[in-house]
C-alpha cells in the first residue's frame, strides 16, 4: 500500500504533473461558447462554408450582399404582376374589379386562418375585432372587420370591404399598416382574404 502511495507521489506530485494537469484543464474550459465568444472549432473549414450562404455577405456583388434585387424589368417565373398603383383611385378600382382567383373551400379557409394568425392577428386580433396583442398606442385604434358604422376609405364600413380592397391594402398597406407583399405570396394573400371575409360576418363584438 505504501509503495503505491510512494509511486503516486513520485509521478504526480514530485514531477509537478498535477500543476500541468490543472493548467490544461483551465485552458480547455475556455473552449465553450459564452457571450460574444463563439467557442473554438475543430477543423473550422467544415463550419465556415466557402460557398456564400443565405443572408451572408458576398464580395461578388457590388453591394456585398447575397440578397439581391431582381434585375430591372424582369419578373420571376410564374409571377403575376399586380396591375394597381398605391393610390386612392386604384384602391377603389381594385375593389370593383378584382376577383379572388382561389375558390373557397374549408381547407383554404383553415390555411387562411393560420396565415391570418401569423401575419395579422397581433394588430387585428384573432377575432378580427381590432384588439391585437401589440400594446403600442399607435396600434390601439385598429378598426374591427365587422364594424358596420364608420365609413372607411372605400366609402363603405369595414364589414362591406370587397376582396380587392383587402388585397390592395395587404399589398401596399393602408394608413398605419405597412405593405406585406414581401412576406406573403399572392396566393397566401388571397387565402387571407377568404378568412377576413369570414371575420367580417362576426357579430359578437
Amino acid at each position: 500500500m505504501t509503495d503505491i502511495i510512494k509511486l503516486f507521489y513520485s509521478t504526480f506530485i514530485d514531477n509537478k504533473f498535477i500543476i500541468l494537469f490543472s493548467i490544461i484543464s483551465i485552458f480547455i474550459i475556455a473552449c465553450g461558447a459564452d457571450g460574444n465568444h463563439p467557442g473554438y472549432q475543430y477543423m473550422p473549414d467544415m463550419y465556415e462554408s466557402p460557398s456564400y450562404e443565405t443572408n451572408s455577405s458576398n464580395p461578388v456583388f457590388k453591394n456585398n450582399s447575397t440578397s439581391q434585387y431582381l434585375p430591372k424589368n424582369s419578373i420571376p417565373r410564374g409571377f403575376v404582376p399586380f396591375d394597381f398603383d398605391n393610390t386612392l383611385d386604384d384602391y377603389l378600382r381594385a375593389g370593383n374589379t378584382l376577383v379572388n382567383p382561389i375558390s373557397y373551400s374549408e381547407t383554404v379557409l383553415s390555411e387562411g386562418k393560420q396565415l391570418f394568425e401569423m401575419f395579422c392577428a397581433h394588430c387585428h386580433g384573432k377575432e378580427g375585432n381590432g384588439k391585437g396583442s401589440i400594446n403600442h398606442p399607435v396600434y390601439s385604434a385598429v378598426p374591427s372587420y365587422s364594424d358596420s358604422i364608420t365609413p372607411r376609405r372605400s366609402g363603405e364600413p369595414m364589414n362591406k370591404l370587397k376582396s380587392g380592397h383587402i388585397f390592395h391594402s395587404l399589398h401596399y398597406g393602408l394608413n398605419a399598416m405597412g405593405p406585406h407583399a414581401s412576406q406573403l405570396s399572392q396566393e397566401e394573400r388571397w387565402k387571407i382574404v377568404h378568412y377576413v371575409h369570414k371575420l367580417q360576418k362576426n357579430t359578437n363584438d
Partner: protein, 423 residues
C-alpha cells in the same frame, strides 16, 4: 433619522400610485390653465374614445409629431371653431366637397389623404375627445410599456444583491483575521506562543502523506472531468450570445407584443433558411413607431440609417446609399450537415421553441440547443410522425399499413439514415 424615514415612505407611495398621481396632476393643471369646469369623467371618456378611434392616425403632442395626420393638442384645436371641428370629424370629405377653405387647405397639406369619417360621434363625444387631447401630456405614451421598465429594474436588483453578498463575505473574513491578530497580540504580551494557522495546517499535512495523495487524486479526477467536458464543447456553440448591431429584443416583440415568429422569419415555412427579415419588414411598424422605452429611439434610428428613412417627414431619402445591417449569425450548422426549416415546420409541425428555446423571453438571443448530431438523433428517435399530414398523404398510408397502426417515430421512416442529412 425620522425625517429620512418619512421621505422614503413618501417616495414609495409616489411610485405605487404613479398612475393615480399622473391623472390627478393632469386634472389640476387643466383646471388651473383653462378656468373652466370639465369633470374628470369627460377626460376619461375622451381617452377611451381617442385610443380606440383616433390613436392609429394621431399622436397627442406638437403638430410636427405627425403619424398619419398631425399631432393633436390645444394648438390644433384653438386654430378652428368648435362647429368647424364637429363637421370635420363627423365627415371631413363632405366639408372638403363643400369648398370650405380651411378644410381644403388641410386636405392639400396632407397629400390628399382622407380622414376617416365618424358620423356616429355626438357633439358631446367630440367635446370629450377634445378635452382629453388638450390635457394629455406626452408622458402618457411612455407609460404604455411600464412592465418592461419594471423588469429591467428587477434584473439590476439581482446583480446588486450578489455584489452585497460578496462584500459582506469579504468583511466577515477580514474581521476574522483581525480577531486572530488581536488574540495573537494578547498571547505575545502574556509571553505565550502565538497561533499560526498556516504553519499548523502545513505541519499536519506533512505528517500525513495519505491526505496529499487523496487530495491529488481528487484534483486529477476533477481536471480529467473538466478536460473531457471541455473537449466536448469544441465546435458546439451552445450558449453563444453575441451582441447584435441593433439591440433587438425578442422579449419585447415576440413576447410582450405577441408578434408571431413567422411574421419576420417568413422563410421558415418555405425554405431551408428561416431568413433574417429585411429592413422593410421592420418598417411595417417602425414607420410610425419611432421611439421605445429604454433604448428604442437610438436602436430604431439604426434601421433608418441603414435604409435611408427620415422619421421627421416619414419619407425615404432619394438616392440614399443603403448600408446592410450586419447581424451576427448565432445558429450555424457545419456544411457537412443539411437542415431544412420548411421540412421541420410544415411536415414536422414543430414549434420554433422546440429547438430555439424560449426565444420570446430572451432580451438577447442565445443558442439554446447544442445542435450536435446526438441531439438531432435523440429527437428523431422520440418524435412521432404526424400521419394526418395532407402533403405526404400517399406515403403516410403506406407507413400506417407497414406498422399496423402503431406509433411511428421519425427513425421508423428513415430519420436516422446517414444520407438524409449528410450528402
Amino acid at each position: 433619522m425620522y425625517y429620512f424615514c418619512v421621505a422614503k415612505v413618501k417616495i414609495a407611495s409616489i411610485d405605487m400610485f404613479k398612475n393615480y398621481n399622473l391623472h390627478f396632476t393632469l386634472l389640476i393643471s387643466f383646471l388651473i390653465t383653462n378656468f373652466s369646469f370639465v369633470s374628470s369623467q369627460d377626460i376619461e371618456l375622451g381617452e377611451s374614445l381617442f385610443s380606440s378611434n383616433c390613436a392609429s392616425c394621431h399622436y397627442v403632442g406638437p403638430e410636427e409629431k405627425k403619424l398619419i395626420g398631425p399631432g393633436l393638442g390645444s394648438h390644433t384645436i384653438d386654430k378652428y371653431s368648435k362647429d368647424w371641428l364637429y363637421s370635420w370629424i363627423k365627415n371631413s370629405s363632405e366639408l372638403i366637397a363643400s369648398g370650405d377653405e380651411l378644410a381644403v387647405a388641410v386636405y392639400e397639406e396632407y397629400n390628399k389623404l382622407q380622414m376617416t369619417a365618424f358620423p356616429q360621434f355626438s357633439n358631446e363625444d367630440i367635446d370629450n375627445i377634445l378635452a382629453y387631447v388638450q390635457v394629455r401630456p406626452e408622458e402618457v405614451i411612455l407609460s404604455s410599456n411600464e412592465d418592461l421598465i419594471d423588469n429591467v429594474s428587477d434584473n439590476s436588483f439581482s446583480s446588486e444583491s450578489i455584489f452585497v453578498f460578496i462584500t459582506s463575505l469579504i468583511i466577515l473574513f477580514s474581521c476574522l483575521l483581525t480577531l486572530i491578530k488581536a488574540k495573537n497580540l494578547l498571547k505575545i504580551s502574556r509571553g505565550q506562543k502565538p497561533i499560526n494557522i498556516f504553519s499548523g495546517i502545513n505541519n499536519f499535512i506533512k505528517s500525513n502523506p495519505a491526505i496529499i495523495v487523496f487530495f491529488s487524486i481528487f484534483v486529477i479526477l476533477f481536471c480529467l472531468k473538466t478536460i473531457w467536458d471541455g473537449l466536448l464543447t469544441v465546435g458546439v456553440q451552445q450558449g453563444y450570445q453575441p451582441t447584435q448591431p441593433i439591440a433587438f429584443s425578442h422579449k419585447l416583440h415576440a413576447g410582450m407584443n405577441g408578434v408571431d415568429c413567422n411574421y419576420c422569419h417568413s422563410g421558415a415555412r418555405h425554405s431551408k433558411s428561416a431568413l433574417i427579415p429585411s429592413a422593410n419588414v421592420c418598417m411595417n411598424c417602425h414607420t410610425y413607431i419611432n421611439e421605445g422605452q429604454i433604448s428604442g429611439k437610438t436602436e430604431i434610428a439604426k434601421i433608418y440609417a441603414a435604409i435611408g428613412f427620415d422619421p421627421e417627414t416619414r419619407t425615404y431619402i432619394d438616392n440614399y446609399i443603403q448600408k446592410p445591417i450586419k447581424w451576427v449569425r448565432i445558429h450555424n450548422l457545419p456544411d457537412l450537415a443539411y437542415f431544412n426549416h420548411a421540412q421541420h415546420v410544415n411536415a414536422g409541425g414543430l414549434e420554433c421553441q422546440t429547438c430555439h428555446g424560449p426565444i420570446e423571453e430572451m432580451e438577447v438571443v442565445e443558442q439554446y440547443s447544442p445542435l450536435t448530431m446526438g441531439w438531432c438523433i435523440e429527437c428523431h428517435r422520440e418524435e412521432k410522425v404526424n400521419t394526418d399530414n395532407d402533403y405526404y398523404h400517399e406515403m403516410n398510408k403506406k407507413w400506417v399499413e407497414k406498422y399496423h397502426g402503431e406509433d411511428i417515430n421519425v427513425n421508423n421512416i428513415g430519420g436516422l439514415e446517414c444520407g438524409k442529412c449528410h450528402y
